[in-house]
């Protein structure tokens, strides 16, 4: 695929992954800068609509990232998120949004390095897939 800079929308939970992202920043780790963090209180509040919206607006990849199982500040929000991602992964690939474009990860507060690594890897994977078609074409 051609060399392009993918846009990644990352819904990160306020408690764990947002902290990890902060940590990556303070540790001066470079991760791809066209990763847009959208802070949510909990991955359990990420409505499937948000993911669909991101893809239709042209996001090349969407990441949802929250606390490890058992760590959730709100007890079990991450488990609920996992089901929603499962659901979306049954729907979106049919329409040409490859499953690799949608990712769910658990990144704990101390995992700043892991956060940066995952972002790098995700960008590489999405680059290999090429741009999201919705980015270039009219979406009805």
């Amino acid at each position: 695929m051609q060399d392009f800079e993918p846009t990644i929308i990352a819904f990160v939970c306020n408690w764990c992954t947002y902290t990890a992202a902060d940590l990556a920043g303070t540790s001066r780790l470079t991760y791809p800068k066209n990763v847009r963090l959208i802070r949510v209180m909990c991955t359990g509040m990420v409505d499937p609509q948000y993911v669909i919206k991101a893809f239709l607006e042209g996001a090349d990849g969407v990441l949802i990232s929250g606390c490890h199982p058992g760590d959730c500040h709100y007890i079990n929000g991450n488990y609920k998120a996992r089901r929603r991602i499962k659901l979306l992964k049954e729907i979106l690939p049919q329409f040409g949004f490859e499953p690799e474009r949608l990712r769910l990860t658990w990144i704990g507060a101390s995992d700043g390095i892991q956060f940066a690594e995952i972002m790098d890897e995700l960008v590489d994977q999405v680059k290999a897939l090429g741009p999201n078609q919705a980015k270039l074409k009219m979406v009805i």
């Binding site: 609509q49 500040h73 704990g108």
Partner: protein, 1141 residues
């Protein structure tokens, strides 16, 4: 929030300190929280994974009601609470005065980095030439002299370590925001006078000290010294004790009054140490024993220099003090060091291993051998290193190590994805906490952690491959050698360095081992009234116990504050904006900080303006130079005054720095602060980004970030968060010692309490308990407590009464109770404490019930006190521990039985030393300082026989005697015991009917005990706010521990009772009733049971005080009838839009 009269000081900002501070702050008191380190979190800042969940979750300690008074982010990042004033790098100097009115002197170490200016860019680190071992990584890595104490804190200003900083000034030059100011006053201004009659001593001292940059003068005699002192100001005198003519003591006597600012350190030979100690009584600060080397002298001088550099003491007035002094750990390199710690690179302590597991650790959480970097394949843990060791004067157990080791093994296995062999060498596996026994069994059975009952005596290293060789002996008596990649030493607790000083200046007593001493039946009361103890200062504790104890300490501190006049009446703190902007079209003013020239250099500002103003709701875009400075902020305020926007977006760095400024600004211009937002732009144009990315790209990113901020602001609902009224009364169910304690604690704060007891008298298990292992008198405790309860004007005792039903939620429950005459009565109350207790479990094991000589522990206690059991007539007693316990279905340790067995054994031996006593056990759970009674019992010739779970003792009994056959695991042969009495330790079961718990919205765990909201962080709360538990209904505990849970539960209720109204957070769920189809999925989705359905009005209701703003309800609602304020669908969709740009 309005402050109550009364402030408390919490010393130590570890978990216990944070819990105590938050508890006090939440109930409305002002709190000063200090820590001598430059960060909060104590040891937990280094621990990512904590048993028994193997996860963190520290954030669950944050306030649940009035959440916005506190920061709403990971507690590892930091803590902000409007009632808590945190000062770090600060030490306690003195505590004078009386409970309710202490004068406390604090000393703060100066910070050369201004935290509000430091953006954390880290350029200073690159400049700093000094590299030293990093204590955050337990010395496994290095750091610079300017460093981040912990990598993830917010605010996270860099800190300079004075002890190693050379003041070269390189960092000061590099700092882009001018945050670093190294004081002019260098070491050269610190003048030292060396007084010694021996030239060689004078010369070498001068050389050493001058090399460190200090100004040094010398005097060869006392007389000469006095002369020099009168001519020049000195900060420190190093004074030889033995000199001809005028000796050191004489010099000291002559100078001490005249030069009060002079520090004097005596230098003495070993023979005259006593004289030096005498000199310290006169006023010398310390002494050095000759001969000494620079490694001894220099740190001491540096310390004195630093202390002088520290700001002058700050005096504060507080009503009560909570001391959470923490704990230290055994240094395995000390003593005989048979494990080769510090010699073999792969022998580490369990604290170091935590850092190896951590993502912020030196190897980023990769499990590798130190040295060659190979993946670890085989790790051994050696338990009780520095614990349970009389040779090391450690006749105690360190409580947490068994669980800590299992946890480390499990986490390590998980990290290695199963490719790891883990073995724990232990003596007794002490899994006495709630759920710990199952945790252990799962670790073994499900995850394959090997537990070997063996004490390793030596660690050797294979010369060729570097493998570590462990030698020990197994239970069967086979000596074995096994190779490991890494050996983790689970090191035991030690009193903190300076414990003696702390005890002296606080006026509290230490126990004989050097830990803080608590009063009888209390885990928090020190010997000095008004000073409460928290955390591991009184002995190492796991998180759950620390948190419980800290809440109890807060309660007792609060009691003193209350008694001293702190009232609990509070005004609502919610801020109502003077301008109602609800119906106005948003007019957003965007102000971007240029950070000097950094932003314009990196970003095309004109393009930013163009793109943002395309949105008609954007009123204007302005660039202001350095909003973080006073001038910059003034400029900003001026712009605001000119354009009168109804929403303001600030683009800058460090959003949290602006929290208070925004609040002030909002109040001044009459705009709800929630309509002012800050987005972090600095990370977009940091040095390392600029080097990589083109200007166009950065411009796009900055614009997009601002657009996201605009999208968020646009849809903010500017209404004040809702609140709910509170019926300021409490209901306590259960009149045992826990229930009575909780009732008294609440009533002592002036609130009405209904205490419901189903029996005809109060006291519960205290009615039959005669004595404790440590020799205290439960009967006296019962007498006192019962009298206090019965006399208390605020407590209504309802005996022979039961709860029939209850409805409602936190703030207002309605509970119907019925008494012996079946008269029903309905009580209104805000909170409920379940203190329904527990009892000794019944059994049919080991022939119980077939012979009068087979009794339970409780029956033995009763027989010894009330009934004619004459111990002098007994010859032999056998005791079997863990009867029906630690196996399904009662697969838990009851925590008290081992101590009980020791108590009985020692008591019987005292009465009749000739009785043979056999204690048949699986693992002796004599945790903490109870270990010494175990040793004592061994010494008193009590025979302890360890039996295997798979080979339980056999019992044959007739009416007079009993024969017990047990296979001794050491000699692996059956031992036959003929005994006059067999005592069974059957453990504790709770008296908490599931239905009762559920009536209040709480639930019970698989063993019937109260299910906590979170075993570590909310150990006495139920998941449903407003319902708490304590005592045996919560978990098996001894009397002092039960009382502590009761005090903790009471403290948790005070957070609620202390308010007339409970306010919600800004991020709170809401329902648009017109859209709601009443499918009730949101009710099921709410983890806090904050939602309910109002059948009469056909509406789904949200209790805003219970809602924690997770948004589960909003996500499950298909049409946006359920919304989360602050994260409305419009906001989210527009933000996504803006993010993609």
């Amino acid at each position: 929030m309005a402050r109550k009269i009364g402030k408390a000081l919490v010393v130590g900002a570890g978990i216990a300190g944070i819990r105590a501070a938050l508890d006090l702050a939440e109930s409305g008191y002002g709190v000063i929280l200090i820590d001598k380190s430059p960060h909060i979190g104590g040891i937990l800042s280094q621990l990512d994974y904590q048993f028994p969940t193997d996860h963190c979750g520290m954030c669950k300690m944050l306030p649940l009601v009035d959440r916005d008074a506190s920061s709403q982010y990971c507690l590892r990042k930091g803590l902000f609470h409007e009632n808590i004033d945190i000062t770090l790098s600060t030490e306690l100097v003195s505590i004078k005065g009386e409970p309710g009115q202490f004068q406390v002197m604090l000393k703060e170490h100066p910070n050369w980095v201004t935290s509000d200016l430091c953006t954390g860019c880290g350029e200073c680190v690159d400049a700093c030439p000094i590299e030293v071992p990093d204590e955050f990584n337990s010395g496994l890595g290095t750091r610079k002299a300017i460093y981040l104490p912990i990598p993830h804190a917010i605010p996270n200003p860099y800190v300079i370590d004075y002890t190693v900083c050379t003041r070269c000034g390189a960092c000061e030059e590099m700092c882009p925001t001018g945050a670093i100011k190294i004081p002019e006053k260098a070491r050269g201004d610190f003048r030292i006078l060396v007084v010694d009659d021996e030239l060689i001593v004078r010369d070498s001292l001068k050389e050493w000290l001058a090399e460190e940059g200090f100004a040094v003068d010398m005097a060869a005699s006392g007389q000469e010294a006095i002369e020099q002192l009168s001519q020049q100001t000195y900060q420190l005198m190093l004074l030889d004790l033995k000199m001809p003519e005028m000796d050191g003591v004489e010099v000291l006597q002559k100078t001490i009054d005249e030069f009060p600012d002079l520090d004097v350190v005596m230098m003495t030979a070993y023979a005259t140490v006593e004289t030096a100690v005498e000199a310290m009584k006169i006023g010398a600060l310390d002494y050095l024993v000759k001969p000494f080397d620079p490694e001894t002298l220099i740190p001491m001088v540096k310390r004195l220099y630093q202390e002088r550099a520290a700001s002058e003491g700050r005096q504060i007035e507080v009503g009560a003090v909570v001391l959470c002094g923490g704990t230290a750990f055994f240094d395995p390199a000390s003593g005989k060091n048979t494990f080769g710690y510090g010699i073999f690179p792969n022998v580490v302590t369990h604290l170091e291993f935590e850092r190896l597991l951590s993502g912020t650790g030196p190897y980023h959480g990769q499990l590798v051998r130190l040295g060659d970097g190979q993946a670890l394949q085989k790790i051994a843990w050696i338990q009780c290193v520095g614990s349970r060791d009389l040779q090391l004067e450690a006749d105690y157990c360190s409580n947490i190590c068994c669980m800590a080791a299992i946890k480390q093994a499990l986490v390590a296995k998980q990290k290695a994805r199963g490719n790891l062999d883990t073995t724990i060498f232990y003596m007794d596996m002490r899994t006495f906490g709630k759920s710990f026994e199952r945790y252990r069994q799962q670790a073994e059975a499900k995850h394959g952690v090997r537990l070997k009952r063996a004490r390793i005596h030596t660690v050797d290293r294979h010369a060729a491959c570097g493998d570590l060789i462990l030698r020990g002996v197994d239970l069967a008596g086979q000596s074995s050698e096994e190779r490991f990649d890494m050996v983790v030493l689970t090191v035991g607790q030690r009193p903190i360095g300076g414990a003696n000083d702390l005890s002296e200046l606080a006026g509290i007593e230490l126990n004989s081992l050097g830990f803080a001493q608590t009063e009888a039946f209390s885990l928090t009361r020190s010997s000095r009234s008004g000073i409460e103890l928290g955390g591991s200062f009184t002995g190492l504790k796991d998180i759950s116990d620390s948190v419980v104890q800290a809440s109890a300490a807060a309660l007792n501190a609060s009691r003193i504050l209350h008694a001293a006049g702190g009232s609990l009446a509070l005004k609502s703190s919610s801020f109502i904006p003077s301008t109602d902007v609800l119906r106005e079209v948003p007019r957003i003013l965007v102000i971007v900080c240029t950070c000097g020239v950094r932003l314009p250099a990196a970003v095309d500002t004109q393009k930013v303006i163009e793109q943002l103003t395309a949105d008609p709701l954007v009123d204007g875009v302005d660039f202001v130079e350095q909003t973080c400075t006073a001038a910059g902020w003034e400029h900003l305020e001026k712009r605001v005054a000119e354009s009168k926007p109804n929403r303001i977006l600030i683009g800058s760095c460090l959003p949290y720095v602006y929290k208070r400024k925004i609040k002030d600004l909002g109040q001044r211009i009459g705009l709800n602060p929630s309509l002012i937002d800050v987005v972090d732009l600095a990370s977009e144009y940091q040095k390392h980004v600029l080097e990589k990315e083109p200007k166009e790209f950065i411009t796009q990113n900055v614009t997009s970030k601002l657009e996201m901020g605009i999208a968020r602001l646009k849809w903010i609902e500017p209404s004040a968060p809702p609140d709910i009224p509170v019926i300021q009364r409490a209901l306590v169910i259960g009149g045992g010692v826990a229930g009575m304690t909780a009732a008294l604690a609440i009533a002592d704060h002036g609130f009405q309490v209904d205490l419901v007891e189903q029996n005809d008298r109060l006291g519960g298990n205290l009615n039959w308990l005669e004595r404790t292992l440590d020799g205290h008198q439960p009967t006296e405790l019962l007498q006192q407590t019962r009298t206090s309860v019965e006399k208390h004007p605020q407590i209504q005792v309802h005996t022979q009464t039961r709860v029939v039903r209850s409805t409602g939620e936190v703030g207002h429950f309605q509970t119907t109770i019925t008494d012996a005459q079946n008269t029903e009565q309905t009580l209104d109350h805000a909170v409920t404490i379940l203190a329904t207790g527990g009892r000794e479990a019944a059994t049919s094991a080991y022939g119980y019930g077939t012979s009068p000589v087979i009794v339970t522990q409780k029956e033995l206690e009763e027989k010894l006190s009330n009934q004619p059991l004459d111990a002098t007539q007994l010859h032999s007693i056998a005791m079997i521990q863990c009867v029906d316990s630690r196996e399904e279905p009662r697969n838990y340790c009851s925590r008290v039985c081992c101590a009980n067995a020791l108590k009985h054994a020692l008591h019987l031996k005292e009465i009749n030393p000739d009785i043979q006593i056999y204690i048949l056990y699986r693992d002796m759970m004599t945790y903490g300082f109870d270990e010494s009674y175990y040793t004592r019992a061994r010494k008193a010739n009590v025979i302890f026989i360890q039996y295997q779970f798979t080979e339980k003792p056999q019992v044959m009994a007739n009416q007079e005697s009993v024969r017990v056959t047990v296979i001794d695991s050491i000699i692996n042969r059956p031992i036959q015991i003929e005994a006059d009495l067999l005592v069974l330790a059957t453990g504790i079961i709770p008296n908490l009917p599931t239905q009762l718990a559920e009536t209040f919205g709480a639930s019970v765990d698989e063993d019937g005990f109260f299910q906590e909201a979170d075993s570590k962080w909310r150990p006495v709360d139920s998941l449903k706010e407003g319902v708490f538990a304590c005592g045996l209904a919560h978990s098996p505990r001894n009397i002092a521990e039960s009382i502590t849970t009761a005090e903790a539960a009471a403290q948790r209720t005070l957070r609620i009772l202390g308010h007339e109204r409970l306010s919600a957070g800004k991020v709170v769920a809401n329902v648009h009733h017109s859209l709601c189809s009443l499918c009730e999925r949101c009710i099921d989705a709410c983890p806090y049971r904050a939602r309910s359905i109002d059948m009469d009005q056909d509406r789904v209701l949200v209790n805003p005080a219970m809602c924690q703003g997770c948004g589960s309800c909003a996500a499950i609602c298909p049409n946006g009838a359920s919304v989360l304020e602050g994260f409305l669908e419009q906001q989210m969709l527009e933000m996504i839009d803006a993010a993609i740009g």
